[in-house]
Symmetry: C2
Subunit: 429 residues, 2 copies
């Protein structure tokens, strides 16, 4: 029997516990392994979770789980950096294998925890940390082992994808879509981590380390959120044949790695453009395998619990042999990280300009000064207040040049307010 201890009985903890209990015999039938939860710690034992537990299985003290000599695998599901980090390190030092869904911890403390794991010959499973139930970690780590990976596109945050989908399909404002997401439980009362791209950046950090075998920190990831996206831009994106998504992008070109999470436009013909609602997806290009896409539910009690269980079973089959994966995923190469100013991609720009002759010529003149050429323009009919939106798609442009040009254009008397620019990710590399 393989004995499991769970720390944290929240959404994912409940899902994990329920699957291990309900499917104990299914898993035994499929793998021959008998996996049992023997101890669960949570600070709140009063809450009614609609579950019944054997006497003595619950505790308020995490160390009763970690220090229990009968437990083989510690499952950390409390989230956040502390005390999760201390718990994990202590568990590994006690030679226990660890499963975690904690993307913030892995993004911030990757090297620290994997170094301890390497020293103690223990393994850390983290399938549930990215894309919930979708087995994208094992796909990249094991399925694509014979590939150099040079491009990842991710829709990694269900909350922001739900909001953008709602804005796209129903032409509503960001605030209205956010309220709806909160009402349905798809967004937290404080939605900052989700809508500002931080949660997606945590996950992209993990995918990039795994796929590119290089060291990436949160500070290397150019991160932007969706709160400033307006319905008008979603509408123009549609006219040009694009969808706006909170897109996590990692590219490697000529040994240079670029990592960013930002709202970006993706062509409707690209499979990532059809990932809607709370769904997540990761698109990975390997040099041998070509493009691959993995799609499914990125969050929720059962889907994320399913990913935790997949790690537990994977470990259980090897733990009795003391046979962990032969290498921990520590960085094997130093690569140069490219900042936002250096790469050249096409952009969407929307100006709000006075509707009079010569304006378009002035705007394009300033753009040309910064080496930015225009691939298409939409200028819509007259508005009552004399201002109209002018929308342009550019050819490949350097971001810092684009920002300078935009600042100069925005200072012109014929421009109203701040102009909007959104990157275009064509989706092939």
């Amino acid at each position: 029997m393989i004995s499991i201890g769970i720390i944290g009985l929240g959404t994912v903890g409940i899902g994990t516990y329920k699957i291990l209990k309900e499917y104990n015999s299914l898993i035994k039938q499929r793998t021959g392994l008998d996996i049992k939860v023997v101890k669960i710690a949570d600070i709140d034992l009063e809450r009614n979770r609609g579950l019944s537990f054997k006497r003595g299985i619950l505790t308020k003290d995490a160390y009763e789980v970690i220090d229990n000599p009968n437990i083989d695998i510690i499952v950390e599901l409390i989230g956040g950096i502390q005390p999760a980090y201390d718990y994990i390190v202590r568990a590994i030092r006690k030679k226990k294998w660890v499963v975690t869904a904690n993307k913030a911890l892995l993004a911030e403390k990757w090297d620290e925890v994997f170094k301890v794991a390497e020293r103690e010959h223990c393994e850390i499973g983290f399938e549930a940390s990215v894309c919930g139930g979708i087995p994208v970690i094992r796909a990249i780590r094991d399925g694509l082992i014979g590939n150099k990976i040079h491009y990842i596109l991710g829709i990694l945050n269900g909350t922001s994808n739900y909001i953008l989908t709602k804005m796209t399909e129903e032409d509503v404002s960001f605030n209205k879509a956010l309220s709806e997401a909160q009402r349905l439980g798809f967004a937290e009362q404080d939605p900052t981590l989700d809508i500002e791209g931080i949660d997606a950046a945590h996950k992209l950090c993990i995918l990039t380390r795994l796929a590119f075998n290089c060291s990436i920190h949160m500070k290397d990831i150019i991160t932007g959120g969706i709160s400033k996206i307006e319905p008008i831009d979603i509408g123009f994106a549609k006219e040009f044949g694009y969808r706006i998504k909170l897109l996590a992008v990692a590219k490697e070109e000529k040994g240079m790695v670029e990592v960013r999470v930002e709202p970006a436009m993706i062509p409707v013909a690209h499979p990532m453009s059809t990932v809607n609602g709370v769904y997540n997806a990761t698109y990975v290009v390997g040099d041998k395998i070509g493009p691959n896409l993995y799609y499914g539910m990125g969050a929720g009690s059962d889907p994320t619990g399913s990913a935790v269980v997949s790690d537990i079973v994977d470990m259980a089959s090897r733990i009795t042999m003391k046979n962990p994966r032969t290498k921990v995923p520590l960085s094997t190469s130093e690569k140069r990280i490219r900042g936002g100013g250096e790469s050249s991609v096409p952009y969407y720009i929307r100006f709000t300009a006075q509707d009079r002759p010569g304006v378009l010529s002035k705007i394009s003149g300033i753009l040309a000064k910064y080496n930015i050429s225009i691939s298409s323009v939409i200028q819509k009919g007259r508005k009552e207040n004399g201002h109209v939106p002018i929308v342009m798609l550019t050819h490949g442009a350097i971001e810092k040049n684009l920002k300078k040009a935009k600042t100069e254009i925005d200072r012109s008397p014929f421009i109203k307010g701040e102009s909007v620019h959104i990157r275009i990710e064509e989706g092939n590399l």
Copy 2:
């Protein structure tokens, strides 16, 4: 060092050999494993493959590979039932682990080969047998281990998907699209296995055994091909909001399993409708994880080689510990297989009828007699010869009733030729 012997140096063999050679040190860096190809057998050693080999590595005699005591893993890439079956069984009896891409063999001889593997405590890897490079086998077997799976939709054959995509996008005939596929090397000179759904049925057989843990044989799979699909039906499908795909479907409802490969219509809003060209995809619904989709290249030297390599590395990490997966995927339950006559799904039907009053009423009268009700009808304007297509979508109907109704309608004097019917798979279960 883990020593590999390859039998069969065709498309997939070449891809496998090249990846293992080119990425020997990448794999070592990632996993700590040193994997070397030490022997390769092929009946044709004269062919110029653009590769150079060490002296003595090549042989015409497969048994020189199988019986070599230094080889840990035998990679069977010759395809077909015999002599592949004999090679694999002999290799396992010699306690060698086996990797194969041979879907025909697995579909026909699953129980036989896995029983030998179980007895000898050896493992058989077959990631490359379904969906080429896409790691869908490990996703279902490992990633979804904590799920009951009750629905699989697959686009499992790149050749037929290329042909249908071409017919859909360019409004050309089946024959023209097939010729183009042959010209580009996407279809064999004898394309029967691909276009008649047999190759897809082999693959569906494997997926179903793995996902449903039940015994399925080729004779249980209702199999149809795409050669009778006409552009007119693809056009009407579009008008109704569907795409026609060669769809592999496995469903389990109330303990009854239904398995079929047939051209079917899938709504454009379903992610499977966007899988185009030579791409493959598998859509799997688990009870905990919800829907998952895996998309990528289903064939080709490098993508399929990449899948073979993923199996080799997976095995190599455990082979030195003599620690195979604890269970072979032999059927753990007997389930009833449902035949084609028993399930109820909506259908598309196209009649070619005389354009005169009363025809529609007669057709719908006969359908009603067989308990088939109509959800929508398109009848297009008059044609020069007095015959027009009448197209209907039905509500859920039993296939045998539908066929009876169709036979009766087709006998009517106002109907010309044989009517066409195509299943509709709404894509959610």
